[in-house]
């Protein structure tokens, strides 16, 4: 006589054999969207900030969205160049590159601390003797991130170039992140530091040091902010869905909490032409730089 538990086991064995192939088919059909975020902050913080947005997008799109942080710019760039990210948050420089090389399209841009644009700044200690960029000739300048950091390297370099300083007229150092560049300047680890003008107001900076001890030596024009772009081979419907989802975040309480978690005050619509100015700056820096930033 067959016991009831045996019957149950037989039933589950049968159902697992027949259902599994169907699940595999569905998974390939509804592939998760990969969301990448450039390593503006360390990966742990990045995940904590953008996890709510990942969940929001999954729900809004009715499709799973995976957040994939990068430990550093190298890895990020590798993944970007490999077309891994369907949706990617990246700086202006990377966007220009990704658009040009991979067809990524901007769908929105950041608004941080109520500012829709961003400016690059060159910091010195207030008690330093530097009041002109030219006085940095032969001095150590520390840049936030890497040579691919648009606001912390490319634009400040553009400002230095405009001031007549060429590559080699000063010693370049790179801090792990733009805030680190500001902190290093404060700690007198360098003579000047480059980062976004808003970096000094970031809590990670403002809570550690007395920012009044710093002084902005030079500052750029306002530039469109950081970019949210989608991979070019996504369907227009998907692109539009993603853009609407992002732009509608500020319309709901839930969306605003998502923005707040990501330390954003909003997301604004953007077009590729908004970044032509960046393209010009990059072009000038590349022309006058000893080292091509595209490397």
């Amino acid at each position: 006589m067959i016991r009831p538990i045996s019957l149950l086991l037989i039933f589950f064995s049968f159902t697992s054999l027949t259902v599994l192939p169907l699940s595999a088919q569905a998974e390939s059909a509804v592939k998760p969207l990969i969301m990448g975020v450039f390593p503006r902050r360390n990966p742990t913080i990045t995940v904590r900030l953008f996890r709510p947005m990942q969940a929001y997008l999954s729900q809004a799109l009715g499709r799973e969205v995976l957040l994939e942080p990068a430990p550093d710019f190298t890895v990020f760039q590798q993944r970007l160049l490999s077309g891994r990210y369907d949706l990617v948050h990246l700086n202006q420089y990377h966007y220009v590159e990704a658009h040009r090389d991979l067809g990524y399209q901007v769908i929105a841009q950041n608004e941080e601390q109520g500012e829709a644009t961003i400016r690059a700044a060159i910091y010195v200690r207030d008690d330093s003797p530097y009041f002109e960029l030219d006085q940095l000739r032969g001095k150590k300048i520390i840049f936030g991130g890497s040579s691919q950091a648009m606001i912390s390297y490319v634009v400040p370099t553009y400002l230095l170039r405009k001031a007549g300083l060429k590559a080699g007229d000063y010693q370049e150092e790179f801090a792990a992140t733009p805030p680190d560049a500001v902190l290093a300047t404060y700690l007198q680890l360098s003579d000047a530091g480059c980062a976004a003008e808003s970096a000094q107001r970031m809590p990670i900076v403002a809570n550690k040091i007395d920012t009044a001890a710093l002084r902005v030596l030079a500052i750029s024009d306002s530039l469109p902010h950081l970019v949210w772009a989608v991979k070019g081979d996504l369907s227009e419907e998907q692109k539009l869905g993603l853009q609407q989802a992002l732009l509608q975040l500020s319309d709901s309480v839930e969306g605003r909490s998502v923005l707040k978690a990501a330390r954003l005050s909003g997301l604004n619509p953007a077009t590729d032409t908004d970044y032509d100015v960046h393209r010009q700056i990059i072009e000038l820096v590349n022309q006058t730089h000893g080292v091509d930033t595209r490397q």
């Binding site: 801090a175 792990a176 680190d180 902190l183």
Partner: protein, 934 residues
Amino acid sequence: MFNRAGLRLKFVSAISLLLVMTLGFSAWFLTTEEGELLDLSLSARAQSLGRFASLISPQSVYSFDIVTLDNYVSQIAQDPEVRFSLIISDDWKLMTTTLPQGYTRSEVLALVNGEASLPNLEIMPFPIEADGVFLGTLFVAVDHSLTRLVIRHNLLQHLLIYAGIILFLAFIIYVVFYQLVLRRLNRLNEGVQQVAGGDYQLALPLESADELTDLTRCFNEMAAEIRRERDALQKSHRTLEAEVAQRMLAEQNLKMAASVFEHAREGIFFTKPDGQIFEVNAAFTDMTGYSRDEVIGHNPRFLQSGIHDSAFFQLMFQRIKQEGYWTGEIWNRLKNGRIAPHLMTISPVRDGQGKLDHYMALFTDISAQKQHQQELEHIAHYDPLTGLPNRVLLADRLHQAMLQTEREQKSLAVAYLDLDGFKQVNDQYGHAEGDRLLVVLAGRMQEVLRQSDTISRLGGDEFVAILSVLQPETCETLLQRLLEVVSKPVVLNGVELKVSVSVGVTFYPQAEPVDADQLLRQADQAMYQAKIAGKNRFSFFDPTLEEHLRGRHQILEQIRLALRNDEMALYYQPKVNLRTGQVVGAEGLIRWQHPEEGLRLPNTFLPVLENHPLQVELGEWVLRQALQQLRAWSGTPLAFPLSINIDAYHLQQPDFLERLKSILAEYPDVDPAWLELELLETSELRDINRVAQVMRACTQLGITFALDDFGTGYSSLMMLKHLPVAHLKIDRAFVCDMLNDSHDLAIVEGVLGLTVAFQRQAIAEGLETVEHGNILLQLGCEVAQGYGIARPMPAEDMVSWLARWLPEPSWSSQRTISREELPTLFAMVDHRAWVDQVVACLEDEQTVPPPLDQKICRFGNWLDNFGRECYADQPGFELICQQHQQVHHLAHELLTLREQGQLEQARRRLPELHRMRAGLLGQLNLLLSHRQVH
């Protein structure tokens, strides 16, 4: 000093020293050990912190990752012992932003450089290298103060634990030492001290078998030896002391006995076993009168009084033999012949072998006690005033008499006597006179009683007599004699006092068993019936009546109930002016409309209320009824004054006046002047002045007073003198009988004389016939009431009576005779009385006939003297003489017929006699009329 300290102190001191040394060593050892531990701890701490340095990523240093480096040093600083930590770059620049609170960058760098230092703060450097390349240094500032504090705390804790253990061990050692040595030594020491103090009974316990036990055993044996020696000494000492004390006591006893014998107030004498006196004391000679020489050698028989028989003395010696002594009262004859009572005790005295040696007799004279006892017995059993047995002795006598009656099958009468009118005597003449009267009456009563009877005084004017009678009926003579002797006047200090007595009698045995108290109650009740029946008489106890009335209390309850049930009523008897026929007033008389017994007259229930508070309630009810009736009759032909009777008890209530005013206030439309209060002349007035005061206050209100039944009491004149009375009401008894009794006529005439003298108005009660009216008018009394006018009637009948009322025509023409003509009036009465007596003889054979000789009778006497003198010249006088002669002749004939046995024939001729009397009296009236005309 320490050498002189006790063993316990020394031992404790040694233990304490040991403890201090052990603790000191422990402290030194632990301090050393803890120091080494501190070093080890710091070393381990350094190694632990050093591991942090290895965790720091060189990339973070290389790439100026300030945020990450800050995180590192922040984590290190979380260690409680770490004051702060920081990272210095290879070019000696600060790479972290975290600074210890209160320190600047330069101060921190100075500490790191070793240019400055802080106590307990050790700054430990840990180099940061990557592939052998020096990138920077991690500095950790460790604060050792906490570690040192912990170590010191541990050290102290350990020391305390050690000290505790050492103390405990020391205590254990001490306890063991104390139990084994100290305690036993202490006990031995105490034993030695006790023995030194004289306690040789001590025996210390022996424990185990060591040296101390041996010592204790030796000590015990030594103490026992001392004790034996001491006991032997004490025994011999006590023997000596006892012998000395015994001799002293014997000597003292002898002296005391001699002194007692000589000075005792009791008579003492000693006799030999054969009875010969061999010694007497001084008191003996004093008490008996015999000298010592006269009695020595004689038998005490010479003291015998002869009162006691031989059996008395046999019993005396029997008691001495059986009980060893005799005590009792004995009457002895003294030398002077007097017999005196002695309380004597005789005891045999035996020698050491128990053989009778002699007798000792001791006696005291109890003559005084005996006399006092007799006096007390007399006081206790006799009334001090009259000398009669009192209530106590009466009870005893009654009890004895009842027993004797049962034994001899006789009868016994118990008479309860209560004097009538004694209260008035007391009030009028004082208690001293009253007491003398009681003494006289007691003597009289005692005289008329027989030897076998007992008369006792219960108190006040109450006496009880116990009469032994063969048959109940035979005691009536005795009772009558008692009534007579009491009612005889008593003259004291020239004043004649007169009282009577009411006697209640009951008999024993009865059908039902009764006791002495019941007999007295029955007699008391019967006495009360005698009072109600009119006093001065005796009444036998009626068991039926008792059962019916259940005593006075029951009657009172019935009256109270009657008041509540509206069974009482006022009847009204008019008072009229005989001459004018005018109704001048009415008297309200109470009646009891008893639901079962019909209309009851006041004399059937008012006596019960005598001196009872219910009297007041009834009096006030009468008062209200009268006032109510006055109001009802106001404005009608019946509007005339009303009088009601007021009892003396009621009048003498302290609040009488206030209550009267209150009741009058209830009838504001009634004029109090229309109200008259009639006070019995026989009333017992305790304080006549007080009563007069109350009455005067009432007269202020307009109320008038009348003295009722005037002439029946003994204080008439006194009351008339003191009390503000407007009217005197002549008692109906006098008025009724004045036609036939010249004495009563004299009283009526006297009362009327008093009213004139005292300016009062007289009202005659008891007018029953026209003739009563005629005589009253002739005597000058114009106002009267009585059945001859109207009987008392309900208020509603008064109207119809008034409508019918017509006065007797003859009254209007009746004149008042002068005092000179009074003898004529008395003569008429005498003649009427003489005829009545003749009639009585014919109706009752026992009646003694009046004098038949026309010259001897009182009327004949008047006719020959006063009549002839005053009226001889009157035309009708001779006719009167003839008529008088004829009346006597007829009377003689009739009485002769009676004597001849022809009584019926004689009676048939009585109307003839009445006609003759009427004719004679008519002629006399004419005589008086002619006299008036003349």
